[in-house]
Subunit: 434 residues, 2 copies
């Protein structure tokens, strides 16, 4: 057997180490000044199933949000876009069971009324409440469940890990597990080493997400609520959120579909104390890293929980001429049904990886291409390396599968996450609506 | 139930009627001056299975070809590109069982030797022989089988429908059926109505293709050999071929993957007689239409024979601002695993069609969008139209499924063909190599 050095890919989780961040409990309530609740409001068919989540800061605070780019966008997305425009918010209300999409003007009205119900419970302006929905589309979403459920959720609000968990559970649809993550760290004081230990300011960032395909069967992919107690300005919150989302959620591709309802919201309560953090502040990179670590955890959970997934697949493209080239190739590989079914079948079929890389219009010379599967060199300079098939089958037992390709054109790289494509995906998506 | 007019989509096969073309027998041998053979040369594991096809004109004639755009391209593609450069050819030799891809310089040498073997049998220049391969990749393709098989194929050459059929069978891999088509028509004399009936020149165009996914499991999608006895110049053959391929094979998308081996070759024997046909000749549009009709038949057969397919799906996009917009939306719908699994599950899930249209970056207003499924209006001006679910289930019994969407932005349109995504696709592609 030839001995070759595997392609050198960056280590996962490197950012947490670099900034001294530590995973912690509490999800969206890990940040001080946050409360959450998840209740059964009867919005779903299954009686007693939690279907309404409420997440609230103790006071109106800085807020940023990103939304689906899909031309079809749901009523709650339209209302939340409007409400977040002033960069501040108090609460987010989310429901599962009905996406309130393709519901016209009445749907917009229901989203507004939902925000108003929460505002009246919390004693804030309705423009300080954002709304998110997930579930079936094209069906009217009645306000009734909210009239009953919002007061129930408001009185259940608590700052405990259990309450955060209830909220994470209430937004699940085809998700097989709730998805939460949180990190704590220390904010640099900006005064260098003179500051004693007792002046250290700790902070937390956390959140939850629902999503188990880039689009859920009935088009309501990803709803994510994040929080931090670091005193970010609205502009800094926006910068941290968009950078994190771009490098994490936007790098997950389960089936290349994106939804009408995708929403990701960040509340920054400021309860950690200390001076306001702008993008130029010394503390900004630390907080941004924590938010990105939370998002990376949640993004990997989405990929691993892809509909019918049996494997989390990480695709690394290295040696590309530009980052865009690297990303186009990475997505082409990650979205290839042939690559995904090969992984499902434990088939070390690097030929499909090569074909997926070659088809996407990015220029490279096949004679310079290296490919590793599961950490094993399988193609060097465009020619196959003999494989130990037994060893490959053993490596496929791991729940994570690494695919790496080096194009030999430059120094740019990209990473995306996906999952394999299984019989279960067909069953879930072929049978869902009926 | 609301009564709405379905979206007006163009009729399939309209071109044949417009130019008075009629389907006929004979496949690649329908054109005069063509012979074909398909023999078992022992290139495949299964003993006795036909695996070597030879298609030859009676004399060297005009030839055009199009090839895969994949950056990874197989040895026979590289050699055939070189050989077709002078616009003339005598024969095409094709094998199944091994794609001769990712095989380096030795692979190129085998492709050259194969061409030389055919040239020596037929008594022509080896540059007049094109080569095509399909099957597993990354494995050396030994020349031995060809040394034995090429003389066998050469002596089996015949101008019969059976011989054409044998050639079509010899290139099959995961294809469940051989795919052939042919049309005959009358060439306009260019002298108007003065020409009597006895001066009429009839011609034929026909061919075969292999392909049952946009990429076969081991990366050898589509091999197509077409012929016509119309006296096209090399330039006219090239123009007719590229136009036809662009409107037919390039509009089929089974799983969004494209292969390293795609090859489509047209030989024009000129045996129909009459003056040479240039692009500017009166006869050109008729011949080009015949070639396009053959390609459209073959393209639809590929989509219908998609790996694991249970339905042929035609996606029409109308009312787009530009043809490019229409095509991007059509491909986004046709490649959406969610749309394809819904069709497999007989689920009239127009929401997934809407989401696939909205995600691809083409600008439109969701309030102007209409969607028809199976000829039934299901969305008008962005709002759902109540469906008769029983009627929809009945319509899903048809082997063909029509999806049409009008964007309400302009007059441009596009059509693509695909198939549904089934359990069988996962089985075929999850288990193939091992």
């Amino acid at each position: 057997m030839q001995q070759l050095t595997p392609i050198k890919v960056p280590v996962a989780g490197g950012m947490a180490q670099e900034f001294g961040l530590v995973r912690c409990e509490g999800g969206v309530c890990a940040a001080r000044g946050m409360r959450a609740a998840g209740v059964a409001a009867g919005l779903r068919k299954e009686p007693g199933r939690r279907d309404l989540a409420l997440v609230a800061a103790d006071a109106t605070c800085a807020c940023a949000a990103t939304f689906t780019q899909n031309r079809f966008c749901a009523a709650p997305v339209q209302v939340s876009k409007e409400h977040v425009a002033h960069g501040r918010a108090r609460a987010v209300v989310l429901n599962s069971g009905n996406a309130n999409a393709s519901t016209g003007a009445p749907g917009i009205e229901v989203a507004r009324q939902t925000a108003a119900l929460v505002a009246s419970e919390l004693g804030c302006d309705e423009r300080d409440v954002l709304v998110g929905s997930t579930g079936v589309i094209g069906k009217p979403l009645p306000i009734d469940g909210f009239q009953h459920g919002v007061p129930m959720a408001a009185s259940a609000l608590a700052s405990t890990p259990e309450a955060a968990h209830d909220a994470a559970v209430a937004v699940m649809t085809t998700d097989t597990v709730p998805k939460e993550s949180a990190y704590t760290g220390v904010l640099p004081t900006g005064e260098g080493d003179q500051a004693g230990e007792d002046s250290q300011v700790t902070f937390a960032a956390g959140g939850f997400v629902k999503g188990s395909g880039m689009i859920q069967p009935n088009m309501a992919t990803m709803l994510c609520v994040l929080s931090t107690d670091a005193p970010l300005t609205a502009a800094a919150a926006h910068a941290a959120l968009t950078a994190a989302v771009d490098q994490t959620f936007n790098k997950v591709t389960v089936d290349s579909d994106t939804s009408t309802n995708d929403t990701c919201i960040l509340l920054a309560t400021g309860r950690a104390g200390g001076p306001e953090i702008e993008e130029s502040s010394a503390a900004f990179p630390v907080v941004a890293a924590a938010i990105r670590c939370v998002c990376e955890d949640l993004a990997r959970m989405i990929a691993a929980d892809g509909e019918g997934a049996t494997k989390l697949v990480t695709v690394d493209v290295l040696g590309a001429r530009t980052t865009r080239d690297a990303e186009v190739v990475a997505r082409s590989i990650a979205n290839s049904p042939l690559v995904k079914t090969a992984i499902f079948g434990h088939d070390a079929n690097w030929g499909r990886v090569a074909a997926a890389a070659g088809k996407c219009g990015v220029d490279f010379n096949q004679d310079n291409v290296d490919i590793d599967l599961l950490g094993v060199p399988v193609l060097r300079a465009g020619l196959p390396v003999p494989m130990d098939e037994e060893d490959m089958l053993r490596r496929f037992e791991n729940p994570e599968v690494a695919v790496a390709i080096s194009l030999g054109e430059g120094d740019a790289s990209a990473r995306v996450w996906t999952c394999d494509l299984s019989h279960e995906y067909i069953t879930i998506n072929g049978d869902y609506r009926t």
